[in-house]
C-alpha cells in the first residue's frame, strides 16, 4: 500500500494495473520537478551567460570556470552537496526544492551556452545598424537581438527540458517520491521489481516522445519569418 492505494499481486498484469495509479502520482512529481528545474536552469543560465559576457575579466573568467565546473561534475554529487551542505550553513530547503535547484544548477551551465551561442550568432552588423539608427541599447536588445535569438535558443532549451526530465529519477536519492522512487518502494515491499520498473521505463518512453513532439511543434510555431537560421 502506498498513498493509500493497495496493490494486487495476483499476476503481473493485474499487479501492473493496480500500481499504475500509484506510479502516476509519482509521474506528477516528476513533471513538477522537471518544470521547476527547467525554470531555475533557464533563469540561472541567463545570469551565467550575462556574467560570462561581461567584459571585465575578473567577473567573466570566474563565471566561465564555474560553468565548466558545473558541467563537469555529476548531478548526483551536486544534489548531495546542496542537500547536505547547504543546511550546515543554515540554508534549509525542502527536499523537492533542493532537487529542483540541483537540476536547475546543473542545467544552467548547459543553458548558458545555448544563450551565448544564440546571441553570438547574430552578427555585429545588427547592433551597429541599430546604433546608427540611434535605437537605445535596451530596445536594441529586446527588439532587434532577442527576437532573432529566440528561434535559435528555444529549440535547444526544449531539448534540455527533455534531458532534465530524464535526470529527475536521480532526485529519488534525497527521498523525493518521483516515479522511479515510487516504483522502487513498490518493489521493496512487493519483492517484484520487474513490473514497476518496466512500467516506469514505458511511461518514460511515452513521456519523452510526447515532450520531444511538443518541442518540435513549438519550434515550428515560433515566429521566425525572415530570420536566417544557418
Amino acid at each position: 500500500m502506498l498513498f493509500g492505494i493497495e496493490w494486487n499481486t495476483a499476476n503481473d498484469w493485474v499487479f501492473a494495473w493496480s500500481i499504475l495509479p500509484i506510479l502516476l502520482r509519482g509521474l506528477v512529481v516528476t513533471i513538477e520537478a522537471t518544470l521547476l528545474g527547467f525554470v531555475v536552469g533557464a533563469a540561472l543560465g541567463l545570469v551565467l551567460a550575462a556574467l560570462k559576457s561581461v567584459r571585465i575579466r575578473l567577473i567573466s573568467w570566474p563565471a566561465r570556470v564555474f560553468t565548466e565546473f558545473l558541467r563537469d561534475t555529476p548531478l548526483l554529487v551536486q544534489l548531495f552537496f546542496l542537500y547536505y551542505v547547504l543546511p550546515e550553513y543554515g540554508l534549509v530547503l525542502p527536499a523537492f526544492l533542493t532537487g529542483a535547484l540541483a537540476l536547475g544548477v546543473q542545467y544552467s551551465a548547459y543553458m548558458s551556452e545555448v544563450y551565448r551561442a544564440g546571441l553570438e550568432s547574430i552578427t555585429r552588423g545588427q547592433t551597429e545598424a541599430a546604433r546608427a539608427l540611434d535605437i537605445s541599447p535596451l530596445r536594441t536588445f529586446t527588439v532587434i537581438i532577442l527576437p532573432q535569438a529566440i528561434p535559435r535558443i528555444v529549440p535547444a532549451l526544449g531539448n534540455y527540458l527533455v534531458s532534465i526530465m530524464k535526470d529527475v529519477p536521480v532526485l529519488s536519492v534525497v527521498s523525493i517520491l518521483e516515479m522511479l522512487n515510487v516504483a522502487r518502494i513498490i518493489g521493496d515491499r512487493s519483492f517484484n521489481y520487474m513490473v514497476p520498473l518496466t512500467l516506469v521505463g514505458a511511461l518514460y518512453l511515452i513521456l519523452t516522445l510526447i515532450a520531444s513532439a511538443g518541442v518540435r511543434i513549438l519550434d515550428e510555431r515560433l515566429p521566425k519569418r525572415g530570420i536566417p537560421l544557418h
Binding site: 563537469d72 548531495f80 552537496f81 529527475v168 520498473l197 516506469v200 519523452t208
Partner: protein, 223 residues
C-alpha cells in the same frame, strides 16, 4: 581536519570510477558504431532494431535503465529460465555504454552522412565494394568529425558513472557516501568529491582533445 583519512577510500573509489568510465566509453563507442551504421543499413530488420534501441535508450532515464538491468532483468531471466543476474559492474557498464551508444549513434550517422558524395564516387571509380567504401573511406574520414561530440559524451559518461553507486558498486560516489556515513562531515567529503570529479573530467577532456588531433592529423594544413 582529517581530510587525509578520507583520501584512501576515495582514491580507491576513484580508481573504480576511472575503470568503469574507461570500459563503458570503449564499449559505448562500439555500440555507437553498431547502432549508427545499423541505422544506415539497407536491411530493414537491421535498421529497425537500431532505431528501436536508440529510441529506447535515449527516451528513458539512465537511472531507470540501471535499476531495470540490475533488479528487473534477473526476474525476467528467471521467467525465461535464463541466468540474467548481472553483477553490478556488468549492469553498470552495460547501462552506461548502451546510453553512450544511443547518443553516439546519431553522431556516427551524421558524420558518415557528411562525407561528401564525391568521395563515394571516387571509391566507386576505383572499384571498391560498397562495404569497402564504408569501412576504408567513409568511416575513417568521419571519425575526426565525430570527435568533439564524443568528447562531450565521454565527459557526460564520467559524470553518469556516479549513478552506479546506487546499485552498490564501490565507485567514487559510493565511497564518499561511506565516508560521510562515518564522519558525518558532509562539507568536507562533498567538496573533495566535487573537486575530484572536476579534475577527472578536465583530464579526460584533455586526453580526448589529444586523441582528436591525433585522428584528425591528416586535416592539418601546411607543408
Amino acid at each position: 581536519m582529517d581530510w587525509l583519512s578520507y583520501l584512501n577510500p576515495l582514491m580507491e573509489g576513484a580508481w573504480v570510477t576511472i575503470r568503469l568510465a574507461l570500459y563503458s566509453t570503449l564499449l559505448g563507442a562500439v555500440f555507437s558504431f553498431l547502432f549508427g551504421i545499423g541505422r544506415l543499413s539497407r536491411s530493414l530488420p537491421c535498421r529497425w532494431t537500431s532505431i528501436a534501441l536508440i529510441e529506447v535508450f535515449r527516451g528513458t532515464s539512465l537511472l531507470v535503465q540501471l535499476f531495470w538491468l540490475f533488479f528487473a532483468l534477473p526476474v525476467l531471466g528467471q521467467a525465461l529460465g535464463m541466468d540474467l543476474r548481472l553483477p553490478p559492474v556488468v549492469a553498470g557498464t552495460l547501462a552506461l555504454s548502451l546510453n553512450i551508444g544511443a547518443y553516439g549513434a546519431e553522431v556516427v550517422r551524421g558524420a558518415i552522412q557528411a562525407v561528401p558524395r564525391s568521395q563515394h564516387e571516387a571509391a566507386k571509380a576505383l572499384d571498391f565494394t560498397p562495404r569497402q567504401t564504408m569501412w576504408r573511406i567513409a568511416i575513417p574520414q568521419a571519425i575526426p568529425e565525430m570527435m568533439p561530440s564524443f568528447c562531450n559524451l565521454a565527459v557526460q559518461n564520467l559524470k553518469d558513472t556516479a549513478l552506479v553507486s546506487l546499485i552498490g558498486l564501490g565507485d567514487l560516489a559510493f565511497q564518499a557516501e561511506r565516508v560521510r556515513n562515518f564522519t558525518q562531515d558532509s562539507v568536507g567529503v562533498y567538496t573533495l568529491l566535487l573537486l575530484m570529479y572536476f579534475g577527472m573530467a578536465l583530464v579526460l577532456a584533455g586526453l580526448m582533445r589529444l586523441l582528436e588531433t591525433h585522428v584528425g592529423r591528416w586535416r592539418a594544413r601546411g607543408v
